[in-house]
């Protein structure tokens, strides 16, 4: 059973001064899984995500990806292991066009010739042909999110970690993104941090609920949404906010 665990955290903690953002989290992810991470604002999801991708160095505990301890690594080294990463705040090359953005991702690992092919494939797959030559800075928010997803795809990752991929998208774009994510999941293991319950319903098999830096519950969508504690901390919280 343990052989196909591809990502694992052991007693992972992250403190910011007195704030304990992530508190001794043991988490594991199997190959080909599509895991959703949910939780109220400030639950520590993004901090957890940043520890996984080595953007933050954990205060204690470790992150192991494919038997490799990445706790002391740089984030480019994690990316080089074949991990595709999308942050919560959009991170794009605003002064460059869509094609260049995606090409820069593809050409990190692929040859120059192959990366041109990958770039056109990704653009076609995300239906970004019309804006191929547009500067990223001039695009609408939802389209920018799609391009960022395209950059993740172009790296041909085996593990994909996305922080709020649908933030600020229209309903239509959310549905399309759900389709894309299900398709990516055919060839890659995924973790998706999300807020939008409807979206999670569209994609999720297994859900991990974060609360105050700890895992409150893990289970499938029905179990989770039926759980009284989850209703209280998460759904209740949403209603009041």
């Amino acid at each position: 059973m343990r052989t196909n665990v591809v990502l694992e955290t052991r007693s992972l903690s992250m403190h910011f001064g007195g704030v304990v953002a992530v508190n001794r989290v043991d988490f594991s992810l199997r190959e080909n899984e599509l895991r959703c991470l949910i939780g109220p604002n400030g639950a520590g999801k993004s901090t957890f995500f940043k520890c996984l991708t080595a953007q933050l160095r954990p205060t204690s505990g470790e992150v192991v990806i494919r038997d490799f301890n990445v706790s002391g690594s740089e984030s480019h080294q994690v990316a080089r292991m074949g991990v595709g990463i999308k942050t919560q705040v959009p991170n794009l090359f605003d002064g460059l066009d869509v094609e260049e953005n995606i090409w820069l991702s593809a050409s990190q690992s692929a040859s120059l010739k192959r990366s041109r092919v990958i770039t056109s494939e990704v653009i076609e797959r995300l239906q970004l042909g019309d804006v191929r030559k547009s500067q990223l800075g001039s695009l609408a928010h939802g389209q920018r999110q799609l391009v960022e997803l395209g950059m993740v795809l172009a790296g041909e990752p085996w593990l994909v970690i996305l922080d709020e991929p649908t933030a600020g998208m229209t309903q239509e774009e959310v549905i399309r993104t759900a389709e894309i994510i299900r398709e990516i999941n055919k060839s890659a293991t995924m973790i998706v941090v999300e807020h939008d319950m409807q979206f999670i319903r569209m994609i999720a098999r297994k859900v991990t609920v974060f609360h105050q830096g700890q895992i409150l519950l893990e289970g499938d969508m029905d179990e989770v949404s039926a759980d009284a504690r989850v209703r209280e901390v998460y759904l209740g919280h949403r209603k009041t906010s």
Partner: protein, 353 residues
């Protein structure tokens, strides 16, 4: 369309460069050729800053440090080696090494942009005050006395590997101009390469570039080192055109001047900074001769005007203006064509009638 225009402009730059290369010594008097050589050496410095700031996002406020190190290293090596060929190579390497060492600490220490600007400026100013204090005869490297604020007299360049045959000032001009052209096209090639495009992406967004798997520290270090080598080459040519290298190359005025060249010429282009340096060199030396306005005041004014009115710099603004005029002319032409076509259609209708 865009690509072919790029190639055209590169070809034109190459042709203009060759015309200056062969034409200037024939049509100018000796004094003008020498001052053009000086201007070209400064243009090489501007090019190096244009490369690392415009294409790597590295705001180095002390690019003159590597320029000066190149000049000094050349003078010291040429005196000790008794010839210039090896000295040129050594000086470029020394400037590159200085940039690499400083860059290593700055980039691998993950300094923020502001600290980077401050530290590079500080390094230059430290060099300025340290070398100014080396007047005594005890300050020497090999047989080369550092000479304090008087600087070092630089032996002229000689024919490759033949130290008995010195170059005349016209020939030093050829060397400087060829150096500028080579450095320019090296930079063009670099910015078009995969390496250069990754550097541009670092300028655009460091976090994203890192999350794509690029080690941005390494890319910045390489860019900075190449910039240091090119600035060093400029310093070598500068020392040769003046015949002397003094600590003044490291002063605050020159450090700021290099930044102003790039701002005026246009950040994000390579030819812009070259123009910026040439224009300001001739403007300030012209104004210096008139002695009507204070040059520092004038430079300050120019900088303010550019930052407020032409923030993109001369070259990008000219390109924009050209594009707008062209598109206006095209729309005017197509409107005329439409009108003509409309009229002829009216005629046809009448004929059918």
């Amino acid at each position: 369309m865009k690509r072919s225009r790029e190639i055209n402009s590169l070809i034109s730059i190459g042709i203009v460069g060759l015309i200056i290369l062969f034409g200037a010594p024939l049509s100018l008097d000796l004094f003008s050729v020498i001052s053009l050589t000086t201007a070209i050496s400064l243009a090489i410095l501007a090019l190096s800053l244009g490369l690392i700031w415009g294409f790597g996002g590295i705001l180095c406020f002390g690019q003159t440090a590597f320029f000066g190190i190149g000049g000094y290293a050349y003078a010291i090596a040429a005196l000790n080696f008794g010839g210039s060929t090896g000295a040129i190579i050594a000086a470029v390497l020394v400037a590159a090494a200085a940039a690499a060492i400083l860059g290593y600490f700055m980039f691998y220490g993950r300094l923020s942009d502001v600290y980077l600007a401050v530290i590079t400026l500080t390094v230059t100013l430290i060099l300025y005050s340290v070398i100014r204090r080396t007047s005594g005869p005890e300050y020497k490297i090999g047989i080369a006395k550092l000479g304090g604020f008087n600087g070092i007299n630089v032996p002229p360049i000689n024919y490759p590997w033949d130290a008995t045959q010195f170059l005349y000032p016209e020939h030093v001009f050829y060397v400087a101009m060829v150096a500028l052209l080579l450095a320019y096209f090296l930079c063009v090639w670099l910015t078009k390469s995969h390496f250069g495009r990754v550097c541009v992406s670092i300028r655009e967004n460091e976090v994203r570039t890192e999350l794509l798997g690029y080690d941005i520290r390494f890319y910045k270090l390489c860019m900075f080192t190449v910039g240091g080598a090119i600035a060093g080459l400029g310093g070598i040519m500068f020392a040769n055109s003046i015949g002397r290298i003094t600590p003044d190359v490291f002063n605050l005025y020159n450090a700021a001047l290099a930044i102003i060249w790039v701002i005026i010429g246009g950040r994000g282009t390579l030819i812009g900074p070259v123009f910026g340096a040439l224009i300001l060199f001739y403007l300030t030396s012209f104004l210096g001769r008139q002695a009507v306005v204070n040059i520092n005041l004038f430079l300050g004014l120019v900088l303010i005007v550019f930052v407020l009115v032409v923030p993109k710099g001369i070259v990008p603004s000219l390109v924009e203006l050209w594009d707008r005029r062209k598109s206006r002319r095209m729309t005017a032409r197509s409107a005329r064509r439409m009108r003509r076509r409309g009229r002829s259609r009216v005629k046809e209708v009448q004929v059918e009638d």
